[in-house]
């Protein structure tokens, strides 16, 4: 589906953006609640969350369009308190792209350079270079109104990159594009970031976008940062139900804590029996109950007489066809909610009749314990 971009490490261990105890309140409403975060130099970092979670507020405070009610933000070691947007080493790609409609592409890209008073040749070279970076060479004379959505987005990117910022901020840059173009731009954005090595901070509500492009992701809910980790860790080891639910599908199974020690948990469940799992970081026990999670694609259909070390048996109650995959809803005796299972269609999962008995294999590694 999506070309996998091999992650070259562009990031260093230096902190580029330091967000310390930042709160932004509007009256009694806290858009951002005591958030702390360190974004590394050269990192592709995503702020992911549903609308109203505070991700855009945080981005706008880094850019200087909004001011923290309390707490501080530093970029490249310099505190940003009281520094207006036009004197910050950051540049932004706006959600609406904010292309100046009275200027052509070249003039848009050169807009910020005018203040640097470069000589004409140097300015032209930088504009050309920026246009080449976003594959818009030759479109410099186009009027802003003559561009497609994807082209407008490239102009917005070029206009920001030409300033050679320390940090590039992207506010839902792909949300206005159709699905195909969006996936293409995800790959291109990632490539571009690796080529220029600039710290990118992306705001998005699209989990796949964040997973496909980022070095690290901060998942946010209700003004708070729930988890900061690599895409893989966020997906495989979500810290709580909310994070797990927001990123892809997850089956939740009620569990009872039998044993808890430093690194692991032993849980008793009705469907999966007794399981031992890694104890998540920051696991805070809430009585004797916990939740066990497993992703739908980590449950595999067992065909015919095949058997697995770990399996559950049940009955297919629904089947949904999605082209390359089939979504099965499977009732397991003892579980109050049926499990959802995603299976590729290579072996005929799309032909499994509703009502048929079925056995599912799983890897205990795929079971995630979450605090209740």
């Amino acid at each position: 589906m999506l070309e996998r971009v091999q992650s070259e490490r562009t990031q260093t261990d230096r902190t580029m953006i330091e967000i310390r105890d930042v709160t932004r309140s509007y009256g009694s409403f806290k858009a951002l609640d005591n958030a702390s975060l360190a974004i590394r130099e050269g990192e592709f970092f995503s702020l992911l969350g549903p609308s109203g979670c505070g991700k855009t507020t945080l981005l706008r405070m880094i850019a200087g369009f909004d001011t923290p009610t309390s707490g501080s933000i530093a970029v490249d070691g310099h505190p940003m308190d009281g520094i207006p947007a036009n004197r910050r080493p950051t540049n932004m790609v706006f959600q609406s792209y904010a292309i100046f409609p009275h200027l052509n592409v070249e003039q848009n890209v050169a807009y910020g350079l005018k203040r640097l008073k470069l000589d004409a040749g140097a300015e032209r070279r930088r504009v050309e270079e920026a246009l080449a970076q976003v594959s818009l060479t030759g479109l410099g004379k186009r009027r802003a109104t003559e561009l497609s959505g994807g082209q407008r987005q490239r102009v917005a990117l070029a206009r920001a990159l030409v300033m050679r910022p320390k940090v590039l901020l992207l506010d839902e840059p792909l949300s206005a594009l159709d699905k195909k173009l969006r996936e293409q731009m995800q790959v291109e954005l990632r490539r571009l970031q690796q080529a220029v090595g600039i710290t990118f901070v992306l705001v998005t509500h699209d989990q796949y976008e964040a997973l496909a492009m980022s070095d690290r992701i901060a998942v946010m809910f209700g003004g708070k940062i729930a988890q900061v980790a690599s895409p893989k860790e966020i997906y495989q080891r979500p810290v709580n139900r909310q994070v797990a639910d927001f990123l892809g599908g997850m089956n939740f199974v009620k569990a009872e804590i039998v044993e808890e020690n430093g690194a692991s948990l032993v849980l008793d469940t009705l469907g999966f029996g007794r399981v031992r799992t890694d104890k998540p970081r920051a696991f805070v026990r809430n009585g004797g109950a916990a939740t066990l999670g497993i992703r739908p694609e980590r449950l595999r259909v067992l065909w015919d007489n095949a058997s697995a070390k770990f399996e559950v048996a049940g009955k297919v109650v629904e089947r949904h066809y999605f082209g390359e995959i089939t979504h099965l809803i499977v009732e397991i005796p003892g579980l109050e909610k049926p499990l959802s299972v995603t299976e590729t269609n290579d072996f005929g999962a799309d032909d499994i009749p509703v009502g048929a008995p079925i056995r599912l294999a799983y890897d205990p590694e795929a079971l995630v314990a979450m605090a209740d």
Partner: protein, 273 residues
């Protein structure tokens, strides 16, 4: 049903023709009789002449009235546009309680009977101890122009994407630089359009000028005065024709500019977005 279908298109087009005749016949009569050699406006025309037009610049009272109208028109259009910019900016840019009420109140003079407005203005001026002059006419015209100015300007400012100004700041530009390089060029067509509309309205306005002027006549008042003399009618028609064409031209330019401004401020470039 089919009969209606068959005859309706024909009926509709004749209705449209009648409609347009009703609207524009008086306007067509004006230039026709202004080139008539006879002083009485009656068909058939006795001959074609530009004599009445040639006479116009040789009438000192007319020249004075023209100057007065220009002074009043320019002052009133600038004043009402400045006030309109402030109000339109506030109404399109900010959200605050009473915004709609304020908008309604500003637009109200549009539907108030003009003669009532004129009398009230006269009372206020006299209460304030202002003696009637071109200045009081300007004040009166500002009052009637502001709703028009607001209409043109809000349509130009509406949808002005705030992120454009933010983008400019983000690219290092100061607040003043942003105003000069982004805000002004984008709203300039709307501002010029507002100036033209207000000027045209002031140029043609009679009732308020009639009540509020002292001894100095504006063009419509001059025309009104001339109508008492039957022999002066062709001259008035000639002058009227010129005013008509001037107004028409100015309004056309204003509308073109207004549309351009409205198109510009829409960041998501219409068709291509």
């Amino acid at each position: 049903m089919t009969a209606i279908r068959r005859y309706l298109p024909g009926w509709l087009s004749s209705y449209a023709v009648l409609y347009l005749l009703f609207l524009y016949l008086p306007v067509v009569f004006l230039p026709i009789f202004s080139v008539n050699t006879a002083a009485t406006p009656k068909f058939p025309l006795s001959g074609v002449t530009l004599h009445w037009y040639e006479d116009l610049p040789r009438t000192p009272a007319l020249i004075d009235a023209t100057w007065n109208s220009l002074i009043v028109g320019i002052s009133a259009s600038i004043l009402s546009t400045v006030l309109g910019i402030l109000a339109a900016r506030s109404i399109t840019r900010y959200r605050y309680p009473g915004r709609r009420a304020i908008n309604g109140l500003i637009m109200a003079p549009l539907v108030l009977p003009e003669v009532i407005v004129a009398i009230s203005m006269l009372l206020v001026m006299l209460q304030l101890g202002l003696s009637l002059s071109l200045f009081t006419v300007v004040l009166g015209h500002v009052l009637v122009c502001i709703p028009y100015s607001m209409t043109v300007l809000t349509s130009g400012f509406e949808g002005f994407d705030r992120s454009l100004e933010e983008a400019s700041a983000d690219l290092g530009e100061s607040a003043f630089g942003t105003f000069r390089r982004v805000t002004l060029p984008m709203v300039a067509p709307a501002i010029i359009s507002s100036l033209l509309v207000c000027f045209t309205i002031s140029l043609d306005e009679f009732i308020i000028a009639f009540f509020l002027t002292g001894t100095e006549a504006t063009l419509p008042i001059y025309i009104w005065g001339q109508l008492r003399f039957a022999a002066k009618l062709p001259g008035v028609l000639a002058l009227g024709t010129l005013l008509l064409f001037a107004s028409f031209l100015l309004m056309t330019i204003a509308e073109i500019l207004r549309r351009r401004a409205a198109r510009r401020t829409q960041n998501e470039g219409g068709l291509y977005a």
